[in-house]
């Protein structure tokens, strides 16, 4: 039976000892270890979630954003559980003799001790550096502990892609955002490459000049109803087109045979389609084809992993006005 008490001071002492021991282990090679820390990354996960996948994602992230990682895994149980341990996450870059190490604090908690987490975590945060909360477990999002942790953090990252009720999920996020929380949503991050393709087309002044005449937008989505990601895309597209003076009709189309939950096809055109027709569609595998009138190009969109998505979000540890505007619009659509 694990203890239901954590002493943050003891954990900090263990962290210090960890670094001393790592230094001793490496001393024979005379190069020592290199300690790196650019932020505190808090992860709030359910104990039932794939612990190995979370660890792997964090290990990859350490290379881009060396952090003090604090991972709280919360068991869905009424039994009191609170335990913690420290370890180092090390890697040796190819061709180099020195290990680079980041520190990780793993906390095991349960529903019964969830409210104790903020007080435990507060003294463990690395001083003077950004704090980012990855609220990975959807069931823990609407809890006082998550809200308290969000208050400590510069930014809270969620993933609403698989929300059972997309409309409700968006409304909830929009409420939090309006209340002042800096949010990132991996469902939005997955759209970056699609959005960038669209933006690139309109770097051409000839095409940009036709934007006020765009009369029709068609978004093809998998499943019975548009997901949060599809709703974000529609909101962003419409907002951007409206700011250019267009008032297009929007058509939602269902793609019955889509292989994944992402976007399938986006099409928009001027009233006279011979002036401007843009089609971006997913092909088999990882390819995406862009057709602008008669010019066709291809790009490769390999499935973005949690690591790639988080890496993008961690690079923006502040408010993201484009996302916030799209969220607001998507929530009221």
């Amino acid at each position: 039976m694990p203890a239901a008490v954590i002493e943050p001071e003891k954990l900090l002492r263990e962290l210090a000892e960890l670094w001393v021991n790592l230094g001793k282990e490496e001393d024979s090679g005379s190069m020592g270890v290199l300690r790196a820390c650019s932020m505190t990354l808090l992860t709030l996960a359910g104990a039932a979630e794939d612990a190995a996948a979370v660890d792997e994602t964090l290990a990859l992230l350490m290379r881009d954003h060396p952090s003090r990682a604090i991972v709280a895994r919360v068991r869905d149980s009424a039994e009191a559980e609170l335990d913690a341990g420290v370890r180092a996450q090390c890697w040796k870059p190819f061709g180099q003799r020195r290990h680079i190490c980041c520190e990780q604090i793993a906390i095991a908690a349960s529903n019964a001790t969830l409210d104790d987490l903020p007080a435990v975590i507060l003294p463990l945060i690395a001083p003077d550096l950004p704090v980012i909360l990855w609220a990975r477990a959807p069931r823990l999002f609407d809890t006082p502990a998550r809200r308290e942790l969000s208050r400590m953090a510069w930014k809270t990252i969620v993933d609403s892609a698989s929300a059972a009720d997309p409309v409700r999920a968006l409304e909830e996020l929009a409420r939090e955002s309006e209340a002042g929380l800096t949010l990132g949503d991996l469902a939005w991050t997955r759209l970056t490459r699609w959005r960038q393709l669209i933006a690139q087309i309109f770097e051409n002044p000839e095409y940009a000049g036709l934007l006020p005449s765009v009369a029709r937008v068609s978004i093809c989505h998998p499943g019975a109803a548009p997901t949060v990601g599809v709703r974000y895309m529609a909101a962003w597209l419409l907002q951007s087109l409206e700011s250019a003076g267009s008032r297009p009709e929007v058509e939602w189309r269902k793609a019955p045979d889509a292989a994944d939950a992402g976007l399938v096809r986006i099409e928009f055109a001027t009233a006279d389609p011979s002036l401007l027709t843009v089609v971006i569609r997913k092909l088999e595998g990882a390819a995406v084809e862009t057709q602008v009138n008669s010019i066709t190009t291809r790009a490769v969109f390999s499935a973005a992993s949690d690591y790639e998505l988080l890496r993008e979000e961690l690079a923006i540890p502040r408010r993201d006005p484009v996302y916030e505007a799209a969220l607001k619009r998507a929530a009221r659509a």
């Binding site: 959005r195 933006a199 770097e203 051409n204 951007s240 250019a244 190009t297 490769v300």
Partner: protein
């Protein structure tokens, strides 16, 4: 006023690239196949190029478009680094790939080129924007520019820019003559003189390091800096470039352009704004402040060398004079070291030592800033020696920054030992760094000349090396004077010893 793009998201998206055509003269040549085409393909792979982007290859070899595309495909597959080759991407990339055969001395070539560019503009909506890239022998720069001007291609509906590869002349007079010929066709602000060293991420990072942090700049002057060493060493020989190399030599090939530009980046004043001309003004000012050696000062401040044969790692390595295409009596230097002084308040009296060479023990490029020792060393009684602090800016192969200082060795007594605090560019940012050519091509397409050499910079750096060129031109050297695999001739060590310094052991 062009319509604004409402879809832009500057927090997340890469830089905006306008539609354009890139015309590459010397398209069947080595540089295009090894560097330019893989860089352009890679930019396409990363979705950095606009959909209507087009490339027109120009060269003397008569080839149909299909054959040119097949050759470029082979070149990209062979020379692409750190990326997979993707058939789908290639098929859309090569739709924008065209070829116009011809000689730059033939006016007809330029009329055919104009017709092709018109056709591409109509089909791919390039907005009339054209970037001309002279990837040819330097003797063809002026005729190519003249031909473009005569055919009306240097001006048009969109922007027209010209990229020129080094060498920008072979001395001060020829650099001025070349510039005059180019400027008769393209205004100076549309001439992009490429120096791929300035496109390296880590060279750019010097500016971020110096101007983005408050703690280093106060130390960045004669009061705290003892001297600076800039090293660009190659372990390989001339690798089939013997004919070119024996005409240029290490001073012209590396020091006059790359290394003086790196030195200027390290030593220039911070600009008021980070804009192309503001940064280039400061870089040019620094280059103009380099003290020009008097003829009698060259021997004490510059050393040249040429490698001879040696046995390295169980293999016989030929000397420079035994390399294919090299005159067995060649007096070209494969090693050059020089001491430069900057005549301004910040750097007066601080030596900047530069060395570069072929067949040195390892491939390494770095800048070492050695600070003055502690003014009064109190730990001498324990056998400790005062060790100067060193700040190392590593350009290649392990890009990063290290600060060396001393620390107490754990245990009884006060024994000191040097330790290193390292920032490693590759491991701190996991993303792949773009190649220098990717960076510079994007910059030129975007119209950002910050990392390109301006004519006044070129002239100032030629002026700085002219005394050495003249002195060395008048004396027959005793070559070879260092074996392949060594750190250059002994005289290079003596040059530093005279000032109480020594080359770092890298």
């Amino acid at each position: 006023m062009p319509a604004a793009n409402p879809f832009q998201d500057p927090l997340r998206f890469e830089r905006r690239m306008p539609e354009c055509a890139v015309v590459i003269f010397g398209a069947t040549g080595d540089l295009n196949q090894r560097k330019l085409m893989p860089a352009l393909y890679r930019l396409m792979y990363e979705r950095r190029l606009a959909p209507g982007f087009a490339i027109v290859g120009v060269s003397r070899t008569p080839l149909p478009d299909a054959e040119f595309r097949a050759r470029m495909r082979g070149a990209v597959q062979k020379h692409l680094e750190n990326s997979p080759f993707d058939e789908g991407i290639w098929s859309s990339f090569c739709q924008g790939l065209f070829y116009v055969p011809g000689d730059v001395h033939d006016t007809e070539l330029f009329h055919r080129l104009a017709a092709k560019l018109d056709e591409i503009d109509k089909a791919r909506h390039t907005g009339g924007n054209v970037l001309f890239y002279l990837s040819t022998q330097p003797s063809q720069y002026a005729p190519a520019a003249k031909g473009l001007g005569a055919a009306g291609l240097s001006r048009g509906r969109g922007w027209r820019r010209l990229i020129v590869e080094k060498p920008f002349g072979h001395d001060l007079a020829s650099a001025r003559a070349l510039s005059n010929e180019l400027q008769q066709v393209f205004p100076e602000n549309e001439v992009y003189r490429i120096d791929h060293y300035l496109g390296k991420e880590t060279v750019q990072n010097i500016l971020a390091f110096r101007w983005g942090n408050g703690i280093f700049e106060p130390l960045w002057n004669r009061r705290y800096v003892n001297h600076v060493q800039i090293t660009a060493a190659e372990s390989i020989g001339v690798e089939g470039r013997g004919a070119y190399y024996q005409e240029s030599g290490a001073l012209r090939d590396m020091v006059q352009n790359h290394l003086l530009q790196v030195m200027a980046t390290v030593a220039m004043e911070p600009s008021g704004v980070f804009e192309p001309n503001a940064v280039r003004d400061e870089r040019a000012k620094l280059l103009r402040s380099i003290r020009i050696l008097k003829p009698g000062e060259v021997a004490g401040n510059a050393v040249r060398g040429q490698y001879g044969p040696a046995r390295i790692g169980g293999q016989e390595v030929p000397g420079f004079r035994q390399e294919p295409g090299v005159d067995p009596a060649s007096t070209a230097e494969t090693y050059a070291a020089a001491t430069f002084f900057v005549e301004n308040w910040r750097w007066a009296g601080v030596p900047f030592y530069i060395r570069t060479g072929k067949r040195l023990p390892k491939r390494v490029s770095e800048i070492a800033i050695q600070f003055n020792p502690a003014p009064h060393f109190v730990f001498g009684q324990n056998g400790n020696e005062s060790m100067p602090n060193l700040l190392i800016l590593r350009i290649q192969p392990e890009e990063g920054i290290s600060l060396k200082f001393v620390s107490k060795q754990p245990g009884a007594g006060m024994k000191l030992r040097p330790v290193s605090m390292d920032f490693n560019y590759g491991t701190s940012f996991g993303e792949r760094s773009p190649s220098a050519y990717e960076t510079l091509l994007l910059d030129a397409i975007e119209g950002d000349a910050t990392l390109f050499a301006r004519q006044d910079m070129v002239e100032a750096s030629w002026a700085a090396v002219t005394p050495m060129l003249e002195a060395w031109g008048n004396e027959k050297p005793d070559f070879p004077n260092y074996p392949a695999g060594a750190w250059g001739p002994a005289r290079a060590d003596e040059m530093l010893r005279g000032r109480g310094h020594h080359w770092r052991k890298i």
